[in-house]
Symmetry: C2
Subunit: 317 residues, 2 copies
């Protein structure tokens, strides 16, 4: 019998789950439509049944535990709390519900923490003790690892770097406050930056032909690759704001590396190069040349499942 774990990534629309061995090989993957289950108990039953069916299709495996990444998840309590993008309102004891169904240890944390766990166990941070993962998607999530351990803090919600204020009185953030890091350095932030630049610049740009509500980070980064002047400037500004937030992040935990993960990080050197240049100029003297800015070592396609699997593997070891 071979011990395996299951990693689950719960998103607002889709939930993906996979059987993962301790080398980080995904043996099988399945999914559910999260929005099909407005009642969480039904979701848990469907998920457990999907997992059991998937395990039944494998030869000689034993389930050792389940790791779950989810929005607004609390590691200490094993709960999802007041998640605006999920139908389950209030405080949902998801880890306990899953434990009852599957009778194995279940741990839960937010998706960015799971990504950081994936980086540590299977990715580029394998030999690192102090690092930070920034997930640049619709928002900006973060997972902070100090001395080989995930930082959960007193509340279990630590690592909300995306909600550090970087521009006093700046852009409205989804959290109701102004000027948060994620309002600038995320896919959403990049789109907002394009809107602003279209108002400031007279240059021709393909981005003038796309309704802002349909505009994606991918389109902008493709336009920038073709030297569209607005797109180029938008990428530069985003990189500068990302650099600014990273410099402020470094003074807290002095990481060996900052990993950039998620959609926006796919822009590659167009983003990484100016971020590194910003750091060379602006990093606090004690930390100059001590921090690597790296792309995630986990593939985008199954990163979330691997991260959740790493979370439970780390807990079991």
């Amino acid at each position: 019998m071979k011990n395996v774990v299951v990693g689950v990534d719960i998103g607002g629309t889709n939930t993906v789950f996979g059987i993962v061995d301790k080398e980080g090989k995904v043996l099988a993957e399945g999914h559910l439509t999260t929005t099909d289950y407005p009642v969480v108990e039904n979701f848990v039953r469907a998920l457990a049944s999907g997992i059991n069916k998937m395990l039944g299709g494998q030869k000689d495996v034993a389930l050792a535990g389940v790791g779950i990444g989810a929005p607004d998840a609390n590691f200490h309590r094993g709960t999802i709390e007041h998640a605006p993008n999920l139908a389950w309102k209030g405080i949902v004891p998801l880890a306990d519900l899953m434990k009852k169904e599957l009778n194995v240890p279940v741990v839960l944390t937010n998706d960015a923490n799971a990504a950081a766990m994936g980086e540590m166990v299977f990715g580029g941070a394998k030999n690192m003790k102090d690092f930070v993962v920034l997930t640049l998607g619709t928002g900006l999530g973060s997972g902070i690892v100090v001395d080989g351990k995930m930082v959960y803090g007193h509340t279990g919600f630590a690592g909300e770097v995306g909600h550090m204020t970087i521009v006093p009185g700046g852009r409205e953030c989804g959290c109701g406050r102004l000027g948060c890091f994620e309002a600038y350095a995320s896919a959403t932030g990049l789109v907002k930056t394009v809107s602003h630049l279209l108002s400031e610049m007279r240059d021709e740009s393909v981005l003038r032909d796309i309704p802002p509500s349909k505009l994606t980070a991918k389109q902008i980064s493709e336009a920038a690759a073709k030297k569209d002047p607005v797109a180029v400037k938008a990428m530069e500004y985003t990189a500068e704001m990302l650099g600014y937030g990273i410099v402020n992040t470094i003074v807290f935990t002095s990481p060996e590396a900052i990993f950039l993960f998620g959609g926006l990080a796919q822009a590659g050197e167009m983003l990484f190069k100016p971020v590194r240049e910003y750091l060379e100029k602006n990093n606090y003297v004690l930390f100059r040349d001590t921090v690597k800015i790296l792309p995630s070592g986990i593939s985008e396609s199954n990163g979330a499942v691997l991260g959740a699997a790493a979370l439970i593997l780390n807990e079991l070891s």
Copy 2:
């Protein structure tokens, strides 16, 4: 025989050292004038001799170790590195030099980390696992404790919260960059704020009669207590900037408490009340009502020695 440790606080001008038992009682204290020893080896010999003499005056004590707090100290390497306020240039292997003289374990960290250790072992953080100490003196130092452990980071210099940028393009900081937290929320920052307000406001103020180079945070806080309008406004602005930096600090490690230590913290409720009010309004939703803003539980007079003693006690335990 009773085991004791020695705590040493090395400052630019004075060095204070004391014998401390494991209950945090200071049994004896001595000092040296740091500037009398431009050669570090002579300083180490004088310090060791002072410690030995002090131990000789005690009955039945055995020295278990020495903890040292010093500016620009590196915990990992036991070194003081390029300290602008000390005569010893370059990288000074202070822990090793002391170890050779005294033949006991010696650990070294910066003064703010030592203050945080003091808070954890002897002060208000005895039962806390996640907290931050901000030392509001000439500069703004910080010690971050996560899950019961001091955060040193990859370099050993973690916790330089005073050098988070809070005003892009703002005040010049001693570090050569602009807009650092410590340029606003420190004794020096408070004096600068008074200078600025004297240029903006027409109100009469006793602070107009003191040369800015002689003006102290104590004078300003005394004037504020007497309702001097410029001093009052300067305290309010300082509290707001402190609150701003604290809100940004919380998103990283989600502490249970922030302790304010050092000269400026002596202003008491005049500072604490507006900081708490700022947090109530501006803290990120997941952390609202989860963080206490507290005065240090360690007395100002021997706080540095106790902190350094706590550092070695923690290491030995």
